[in-house]
Assembly symmetry: C2
Homo-oligomer: 144 residues x 2
DNA sequence: TCTTGACCTCAAGTCGACTTGAAGTAGCAC
DNA sequence: GTGCTACTTCAAGTCGACTTGAGGTCAAGA
């Protein structure tokens, strides 16, 4: 009954139509039909898009997210994977906490050069020896 | 006196030589000379690389990091930027915390389908309306 | 009926941070 | 003097997630 035009879905989900087409091509969403040329979606796609958005912010790739749907289209989340991701998030959070403290310290440190501050140097050593951690990605956003 | 061969620097800093060349090309590091064709670095480059690594894990781009060095090569960190980054990190951490809790909930939730769990749906709504947050980048690692 | 504007397809481009490959060179051990 | 090997340069390729552009279609409103 209530089918949504791609433009409507784009508006409601807050993503460009091009992204919807891309997701469809990748098999992440399905259009329920066409109105002329135009894709129509049923409202459930909004939940699905929300789940995709959620997965993205949790750091899952689109491919991984694709595997989170059962053939019938319902989410079929692997609970072990979820827990694993939670653990991963936690590690990342700890890293970020250290970093945040260090940044604050560096900002407040009275040493004339940061290089003369023992705390800062200690931090550097840690960063250097721990190997480069996974950097958070900057908002990709529309190029240009 | 003690100058380091590029291979030595690579080994000590834990980055491939190609990365060092790339950083040099970008103006992030400087080689102190050559031994034949080979780049030589003085030991200070290790600190600099550590600082670069640190900046990367804090989420600064290489370009931003490039601006963190004074012309004399000493770090010249803009304290306001550091604080701003700390604030940004904090926000990101809060996001991650929410996400972690949600993942854990989803993993433990007894509802037959996640879609029937009110908590999960609430989470989805949040993810959907908040707009897609900055996803953490996955370890880039060597392609292939 | 005509226009308009939102959609369509498909190929190619973008972004950052590197890596890879081909072809060449030079210091050091023998 | 010969090899080996670790370096050199330069251009091009890679990765994921999209976006952009050119050229085309079509339903609905005037």
């Amino acid at each position: 009954m209530t089918v949504l035009d791609i433009g409507e879905v784009a508006r409601r989900a807050g993503v460009p139509a091009s992204t919807l087409r891309y997701y469809e091509e990748k098999g992440l969403i399905t259009s329920s039909g066409r109105h002329g040329l135009r894709r129509q979606y049923d409202p459930g796609v909004l939940d699905r898009l929300a789940l995709i958005a959620l997965g993205r912010t949790a750091g899952f790739s689109l491919d991984e997210i694709g595997h989170m749907f059962a053939p019938d289209g319902r989410p079929d989340l692997d609970r072990e994977k979820l827990v694993a991701k939670a653990v991963e998030l936690e590690a990342r959070m700890r890293e970020l906490a250290v970093l945040r403290d260090s940044l604050r310290h560096a900002a407040a440190c009275p040493a004339p050069s940061h290089m003369e501050c023992p705390t800062f140097r200690g931090l550097l050593r840690a960063a250097a020896t721990r190997g480069v951690a996974v950097p958070p990605k900057r908002t990709p956003g529309p190029p240009r």
